[in-house]
Amino acid sequence: MTTPNQFQPSARQHAWRKFVSGAMAGLMLVCAAVVMAPIFLVLYFLIREGATSLDWAFFTQLPKPSGELGGGMANAIVGTFVLLTMAASIGVPVGVMGGIYLAEYGSERANSWIRFMADVLNGVPSIVWGMVVWALLVVPFKTFSAYAGGVALGLMMIPLVMRTTEEVLILVPQGYREAGLALGIARWKIITVIVVKTALKGIITGILIATARVAGETAPLLFTALGNNFWSHRLSEPISALPLLIYSYAVSPYDDWHRQAWAGALVLMAFILSLNILVRLLSRDRKFT
């Protein structure tokens, strides 16, 4: 090196920089590990405490009266699926169509209001949803019911599904819409047959995420579905759900119920985890061009 260069660090400066760089990278690795740790912690405890109570009876039998050993959560598992089905039948059509409206129709001004309100709704505490639906459906009909629980979860799903649907529709290149229009195809057909189909994976991903989000909700069900120790024969009756049963077992004084609560939590977690894995698989190759 013949010409002195002020931007060329000396050997000592260089070593110091390398040290700082390494230290920062290490620190960030630790932080990343801290982020990862809870998920392993959760799985570790659920499996340690819950796996032993997971037997055939857990999935096939009703809860036993307090004091008796054994029994299962069959009615709660079925109840959760019933509630999620009802929630999806409200949240998916309304959310998807709302998202289509936001992405494809609507003026910029109206849309920014709708978007704002959807975001506010996403932030409404879930217990508030429970109270509102309690006032709307439980009080007038004088009974807790599966309907009320499904509606509470469905209302929570709407803004979630709506926003993700909008986001994936906006990603569909404008060129496809123009190509459709240039063929003399009516706009609504272009949207349903071409645009929505192109973004379908993304829309389904959003639906699964919203489902996973509400699957574990307890608070909105406390005042609506209430819970039930037996099979529900009508949707107008109270119905059991995994989070509700986990909650009431966990706060009970019986060791056997505590173990069952862990097992219930393990099943719920496994269900939500598998929804998330499905989402990963679906969104692995989401590109439109």
Partner: protein, 285 residues
């Protein structure tokens, strides 16, 4: 529902009584015996407060290729998109003037833009086959979504359109493969086939070869040459040689105005306007 029968030829020349309202036609055209597809007079277009087209007068012949040339931003795409009312997708646009296709006012209140676009097809700069559809579905989507379900008819249209787009031999054995599995040049010809399948009267092409290599470009030029026999083709291009090779007539736009419009030979060999001369000689643009 949709009228997808072949275009009915309409009597040549301006509609009766309108001839006195067509003043600024260059002599070489006014005297010609061509059959007019687009008859456009005093046509202006605004994007909000910005005027993009100024008082355009032009009569575009059918069964011929017309090239639109001019420097970037001069309004070529805007003009082309006005021909099938595609610009209406951009909020805040406004037009004035007359635009007739075979004597019919395309901007009349009773005319549905969807019907206009069925008659006036378009091929875009960037090829855009629908990603969820097979080659065959891409070609047939326009017919299917317009309510055509006759299988024999669809099969005929599929083959005829792909043949017209010079793509049939390359794809006939794997029509169910995704449209986006084709090469760039093949995709563009697939888009041409898709546009031809609905049997439009006019085909608009906005720089259809600008993303293609010379061999793919040559294929498409050859295809444009064949389309000339039965269609009205209007092509926007930045490539002077291409305009000279494929077109019968050339229109030179500059700053939103139609500067000169004439036989292609005249535009390139003996233009009457000095700006045209400078542009085709490559001295600006």
């Amino acid at each position: 529902m949709a009228d997808l029968s072949p275009p009915k030829p309409i009597a040549a020349g301006p509609p009766a009584g309108a001839s006195s309202a067509v003043p600024r036609i260059p002599p070489s055209i006014a005297g010609g015996e061509m059959e007019v597809a687009f008859d456009i007079a005093g046509f202006s277009l605004w994007y909000g407060a910005n005027q993009a087209l100024f008082d355009v007068d032009i009569r575009i012949p059918t069964r011929a290729v017309t090239a639109i040339i001019g420097p970037s931003g001069c309004g070529k795409s805007t003009f082309l998109r006005a021909l099938n009312r595609m610009h209406e997708l951009t909020p805040g646009t406004r037009i004035a003037g007359r635009l007739r296709l075979f004597g019919e006012d395309l901007y009349a209140a009773a005319i549905d833009p969807v019907v206009v676009r069925r008659r006036v097809g378009m091929v875009f700069q960037k090829s855009n086959p629908f990603p969820t559809m097979s080659i065959a579905d891409n070609v047939l989507v326009g017919l299917r979504l317009n309510g055509v379900s006759d299988r024999a008819f669809l099969r005929d249209r599929l083959e005829a359109s792909l043949r017209m787009a010079a793509l049939w031999d390359e794809v006939k054995d794997h029509l169910s493969r995704p449209g986006i599995s084709l090469s760039g040049g093949q995709q563009q010809r697939l888009c041409i086939a898709r546009a031809l399948a609905v049997q439009p009267e006019v085909l608009l092409m906005d720089e259809p070869c600008s993303a293609l290599d010379p061999i793919a470009t040559a294929k498409i030029e050859e295809l444009i040459n064949e389309l000339r026999a039965s269609f009205t083709v209007i092509i926007v291009t930045h490539n002077m040689q291409q305009a000279a090779r494929v077109s019968n007539r050339t229109a030179f736009f500059y700053l939103g105005k139609l500067v000169e419009y004439d036989q292609t030979r005249t535009i390139f060999m003996n233009p009457s306007n000095s700006q045209t001369e400078a542009y085709v000689a490559g001295r600006f643009g």
